[in-house]
């Protein structure tokens, strides 16, 4: 199954890309997608979203989902 993964702000710079297309063999918890793309980095300060809504790390990613990883927000 195919998903889109987006990165923002300092994480986009660390990853060296704003987004990528990933092919996963099966529906997967978002925490496993993070482990996959980050090479096992800690997700302690990473916020996670699926289809533009915040999710917990055990939420399952499905075919066609837009996944996003980003650092703590600092607007306002």
């Amino acid at each position: 199954m195919k998903i889109t993964v987006k990165y923002f702000a300092s994480l986009r710079e660390q990853m060296g890309k704003a987004e990528e297309l990933l092919t996963l063999s099966d529906a997967t918890p978002i925490a496993d997608v993070w482990n996959n793309v980050s090479g096992g980095s800690s997700s302690d300060s990473i916020l996670m979203a699926i289809n533009m809504e915040y999710v917990k790390s055990d939420t399952i990613v499905k075919e066609g989902d837009e996944v996003a990883f980003f650092p703590p927000v600092t607007g306002g």
């Binding site: 702000a9 533009m52 809504e53 996003a68 703590p72 600092t74 607007g75 306002g76």
Partner: protein
Amino acid sequence: MPIEIRSSSFNPWDEIKLHQQKMEQEMNIEGQYGATASFVGSMRDFNEGEPVQSMTLEHYPGMTEKHLEKICTDARQKWDLIETLVIHRVGDIKISEPIVLVCVWSAHRAEAFDACRFIMEDLKSKAPFWKQESTSDGKRWVDKNTPG
């Protein structure tokens, strides 16, 4: 319940005046609201004890608007409000330019004050915006909000 992301500078006081005129023309609410509470956040020339020259604000297009709408909907479920207005800048921002405007109209002051603070605090902690400051040492991402 307008939510706007702006890529150029805006005057918050003109925005409040214009929106209030529009509300009175379109919503037939003249005489209905007794309280208008607003918050304007502007760019300082210092942060974390260091001078800051300019700033760039990045956002997650789509999710930012969606989240701001959720915050305003939550506020309207929590309090009896007549209208809310949120405008937030993105892009390159100069010192003293407004970054955010939150304005709330209600019949009485308690709802307007409380909902304005609620929307602003939720925006600061959850809406996907990120600040990058330019200092004499170069650019740096802001990694946390200052306490309210």
